[in-house]
């Protein structure tokens, strides 16, 4: 940038200052900040109903006979609607379909055990993790905790996705239909192991951050949901729900 361009710089400077003034006036004029570009939160309150897309994915969501959802995230969706003073309108479907509808603002919330690392994150908005699930090694309460799993057999449920992590640690993964009743080592989420009466160890295999999905860029709705999750997230409710749900 040379001195010759300075006059245009000054002009830009004035324009920017003007904009800043207009923006701060607009800012002062609106009570709620940030606002939704597509007014999702306002429309939910006007409609009196929260349109929730649900992907069946127990224990996060669980289909009930009346079309509503149980499970932790069904419970969170109901709680959030209650927090806003509206009803829930349930829409069941496959995740691809529901997330696309969400990105087109045809839904207000989609639940279904989504994890933070998710290819849809460019198309829809995910909340900050409301719960961190830790998959660890566990064993029966009367057995001593191992210092490592080198050369030891570890029972896992099919499709748990933990086999590779166990092999990395030198263990031998063995798939069983159910983890219940094993007297050797088992691997699963801490809440899952607690439900089955095992003692979780500190040997961490995987950490998954659980999130809910809202329409892209609807920041007012997002913050309201975050507020709700902050008082019903990790510490309060979720873990207890999972343990209770798993016991069923």
């Amino acid at each position: 940038m040379t001195a010759r361009t300075l006059p245009t710089n000054r002009l830009t400077a004035r324009l920017l200052t003007g904009w800043l003034l207009v923006a701060s006036l607009a800012l002062a004029a609106c009570e709620r900040f940030p606002r939704d570009p597509e007014n999702s939160l306002e429309r939910v309150l006007e409609r009196g109903a929260l349109r929730v897309g649900v992907v069946e994915n127990p224990p996060w969501t669980r289909r009930r006979d009346d079309g509503s959802s149980g499970g932790v995230e069904g419970w969170l969706a109901e709680g959030f609607a209650h927090h806003l003073g509206v009803e829930v309108e349930w829409h069941w479907g496959p995740s691809e379909h529901l997330l696309r509808s969400l990105s087109a603002y045809d839904l207000d919330l989609v639940v279904g055990g989504f994890e933070q690392a998710n290819p849809w994150r460019r198309k829809v908005t995910f909340t900050a993790p409301y719960f961190t699930s830790r998959a660890v090694i566990g064993m029966a309460h009367d057995r001593p905790a191992p210092t490592g799993i080198e050369g030891l057999e570890v029972s896992i449920r099919p499709l748990s996705g933990l086999a590779a992590a166990i092999e990395d640690e030198g263990g031998i993964p063995r798939e069983t239909k159910t983890l219940a009743g094993s007297d050797g080592l088992v691997a699963g989420a801490t809440w899952e192991l607690e439900t089955l009466g095992y003692r979780p160890t500190g040997l961490l295999l995987r950490k998954t951050e659980h999130v809910l999905a809202v329409p892209p860029g609807e920041n007012a709705l997002l913050l309201r949901l975050e507020d709700f999750l902050a008082s019903n997230g990790e510490s309060a409710g979720v873990r207890a729900r999972l343990v209770e749900d798993g016991g069923r």
């Binding site: 940038m1 040379t2 710089n9 830009t12 800043l20 940030p34 570009p37 892209p216 920041n219």
Partner: protein
Amino acid sequence: MKLREPYSLPEDKQALVRKAMVLEWLTIFFLVTIGALMYLTMGSSQAMKTAWIEDMLSLVPPISFLVAMHIRERQPTAKHPYGYRRAVLIAFLVAAAAIVVLGLYMLYDSAHALLTRHHPSLGYFTIFGQKWEIWSGWVMIGALVYSIIPVFILGRMKLPLAEELHEKTLHADAAMNKADWMTAGAAILGVLGIGIGWWWADSVAAALIALDVLKDGLTNLKSAMSDLMDQRPSAVNSERALDLPTRICKELKGLPGVLDADIRLREEGHVFAGELFVTLEEDGELPARLDALVARARGMDWRIHELVAVPVSRTADPNPD
């Protein structure tokens, strides 16, 4: 092969160089802290991302300047009898070309976000997995405000130094720093825009910043290219030719025994070098008289590094003025 004798700055200019180097180190320090802060608060704002890239790119001129100051100390060698200064210029040229490409990419990226109607989402501020009860937009604005102040002050301090030292890299850097507050301002508007529900404000701000990066890149590219192409001595703050060659010719022509004098000078970064063509009345004591003429010319400006005097006959001059 005869090596070029090393150039050394006048005492008062050396003190200024030391000051400029301190300012450049400070610039690098602040840019790195600003970059870290912006990276941590970036979120999904397009404007914030481009402002961050711009901040990182602003490191190129100060680093080039400091490297140049270091390499300049190197003596010419048998392999490189003219010295090493051009190595830095080539590096600066490549960096400028990279900035242009990055500017184009940033422009494409923002236009793409705008055309696909990307709605940026800004929730609560989260850092290292810890959530804070504050909208992340406010934190971003805080980081952007911090990014303006030190760089703006340093830019203003560097401008006069660049002119006194005839350092074009330093000047380009100072001018970029001074204009940086506008890109940060654009990013702040983008973030505020998201807050009042204008999803497009973010991408528009990002596109403006990308245009500024592109402009910076082209300015630096032009500066590096004309430096490598032996351009005539010109002012640091504009491309206006200096009147130095005319003044030297006039001075020398006024001396007894000199019939005509002409000069051809090129810029080599902060110094000038070239040839002096003189027509003398008679050839007695030629070497000593040529040396005296060169000394006289060099005494007129501290920036003249190497001047070679060539005696020419009056008819030999192909373009008399």
